[in-house]
Symmetry: C2
Subunit: 431 residues, 2 copies
């Protein structure tokens, strides 16, 4: 550990990246060779090596340790909230929290909770009525026994990763990405492998590279389409190839589809591929504008749902019953269609403005965001973001979705066009 | 691992207990001696040994692995709910869920949520108003920065254990106990050491024994007074001795005080002892009859609250805002006093009935339960509980609170005297 720290200091001083795939791969090969010689299971050997590598990388990241609070959309949101508490006006273009109202039925449901006494412990996996309604909504032959209701989509991600992945196992995800995947994997001590995508390649992942990243410690691939932050939707061909690879290596596939309501091009849920080891995650936060109700869900085979349910029982018994009934009241509401149309108009509006600023981007296929690149000569994301915050505009830094995306920012279209215009005006003049 | 399994089979066949403190202690001493000789940190050596011991114990528990679903108050509750869904009448004496209504102000708060738009992401640690109100309520100079609002007291327990204790660390708790403490410690791979108490000693822990259980891998002591399931409140003297020991060894003390509203004898919160490494946990579930709202809180120093908050951010972003405003509406309600008086009457009623059945018990100092012992010749708890469930009465098995309490049951007084009478009538005739 002491040596690792020293290596970290030398690497920092000489501007060498801490992680080196080639070195790790060589190390892995020689360790596996020894394991083979002494009759040790190669899977166990790989896990053990990964635990050591992860600890070593943590120690070598001197800079990151010094400045642990990496800026993300959430940290900017918290900062913006503090500024507001101090009396400052802030335009929120950093957070994926729709400005429109939840369905009217939710108001009626809330008004009835007390008299109907809908405020008790429920089954850990959620009230049967809500699970049945969710099963019906997602279709594909899913039954209520394959559904777990969670406090937000985030807890579904958390419980899936934490219950299916062990310390030293490997998880692959595609960047740029919502930071939660890495956070959950780090929490359980898993090794994360990142498949980076680029604006140049229109955010399409290199699937040959994906397959090369898999070894016998890989346990899970995480997908998120429509993507946060890029708005990308993968085409059926690419999805099919990923599912084939997952089947070949018997990997879990966690598909975070919280933005699927906002699909402007054809989107095919992972459930349509009928793969047994897949976990689909969604929530009421985005489509129904119900972020603060904290109701999400996970869908998988019964065995996986039982594992996620066990974690949920340990951590929080059950989801607040009043919030489950609020979600039930919202599920069939048709205000959703209007929300989706409006969001599409707004994203178009943002794209037009960004084009006028000559910032390169890929027009989103879905979700709530545009993820433009900063041009040469402009500030890096966090410098720019802090300047903007001083001017009363909160925007998410690109590097919050992956270290290598310092030259990007994420703009959320969860405001009226009037507000968007004001915020983008400030962005344009600052740039 | 293979050898461990074989040892487990032999132990099971010969009725030998899996865990043997003497053997573990000898093993620990010899390992520490080797560590000393080769210049390895004794703390690291102890952790490593504990990880191996925990895995070995898990593998040796053949029987437990065969029959993983130990009956607890929660599993009986879930069974009872299923029976009800099938049309059967069940009297619930198994669960700590008050039958009376939450404060009337909560109804008003729920009715306003929609129009006041109180349904957004909040600060991870909770809305400032609620944290301020909680700080004011608990007194002892606590400020809102020392408060975190959690989805139920359970998540406060989970986040405290998971953020302060590492795999291989040791946690001491006192049995009989709510199973959550062990579940959370198991989840993170900590070794649990159990200080057992007995009816004969009026559920007083042997504090000399407590001190002997501490070694340099011990990180936390968990307390729960008024106790679930016994209703015991520790006297000031005993609490002071525990705090002194904790200070001497610099241990965290997690004090779960969710039943403190229901104290019929003098109860002193851990906050009154002014120990920096203490974490007090409480909730709105019991005192305000708001179980299904899932709002609890943790109180500690700022550094510990920041750690718990980091876990909460990873797992669930923030607690549902409508539930936080409901709790805020309840916090100053004076219906609490009436609830406490009523609960005391009911517990007295249960005690009278148990006396008539000649079941030994200690009259509770607080909480919602009586924990009587079964007499010789009677069935063990789970056999009895299943008979009762067939007859439409749900009661919690004693062994749900610790393996060695098969000769106990827990009766919850969260029903009217009329219902309690009916349920206890069935218990009496079955016995």
């Amino acid at each position: 550990m002491e040596i690792s720290k020293q290596i970290g200091e030398i690497k920092t001083k000489n501007n060498i990246e801490v992680e080196d795939e080639k070195v790790e791969s060589d190390l892995r090969n020689s360790a596996l060779k020894i394991a083979d010689e002494i009759g040790m299971s190669s899977e166990f050997c790989g896990r053990l090596l990964n635990i050591l590598l992860t600890e070593s990388v943590r120690l070598q990241n001197v800079q990151q340790n010094d400045n642990e609070q990496r800026q993300t959309h959430l940290s900017i949101f918290m900062k913006a909230k503090q500024l507001q508490a101090m009396g400052k006006n802030v335009i929120h273009l950093e957070v994926g929290e729709p400005d429109y109202l939840p369905p009217k039925n939710v108001k009626i449901a809330l008004g009835r909770i007390y008299d109907l006494q809908q405020y008790h412990y429920t089954e850990t996996r959620g009230i049967p009525k809500l699970r049945q309604a969710i099963a019906k909504k997602v279709g594909n032959g899913i039954t209520d026994e394959q559904v777990i209701v969670t406090p937000g989509g985030r807890f579904a991600v958390f419980s899936a990763i934490v219950s299916l992945v062990k310390s030293g196992d490997e998880v692959i995800y595609i960047e740029p990405a919502w930071p939660a995947y890495r956070e959950c994997a780090d929490f359980i001590g898993a090794k994360t492998k990142i498949l980076k995508t680029t604006l140049k390649e229109k955010w399409n992942p290199d699937l040959k590279r994906l397959e090369e990243m898999i070894n016998n410690n890989t346990k899970m691939i995480i997908l998120n389409y429509p993507n946060n932050p890029t708005g990308k939707i993968l085409n059926d061909n690419a999805m099919q190839r990923i599912m084939d690879v997952a089947k070949d290596y018997s990997l879990y596939v966690l598909s975070d589809e919280v933005y699927s309501d906002y699909s402007f091009n054809r989107f095919k849920s992972i459930l349509e591929y009928g793969y047994d080891k897949s976990i689909m995650i969604s929530s009421f936060s985005k489509g129904h504008a119900m972020t603060g109700f904290r109701v999400g869900y996970g869908i998988s085979n019964k065995k996986i749902i039982a594992k996620m349910s066990a974690i949920q029982a340990v951590a929080l018994t059950s989801v607040a019953e009043p919030m489950q009934y609020s979600a039930l009241a919202a599920i069939d509401d048709n205000s959703l269609n209007e929300n989706v149309k409006m969001m599409r108009r707004r994203l178009g509006f943002v794209c037009d403005k960004l084009q006028k600023m000559s910032l390169p981007f890929v027009a989103p296929d879905g979700a709530l965001y545009v993820y433009p690149q900063l041009r040469e000569g402009m500030d890096d994301d966090t410098v720019l973001i802090n300047k903007l915050l001083d001017l009363g505009v909160a925007i998410a830094p690109g590097s919050g979705f992956g270290e290598s995306y310092k030259r990007f920012i994420r703009i959320s279209a969860c405001q009226t066009e009037e507000v968007l215009e004001k915020g983008l005006e400030v962005l344009s003049s600052t740039l």
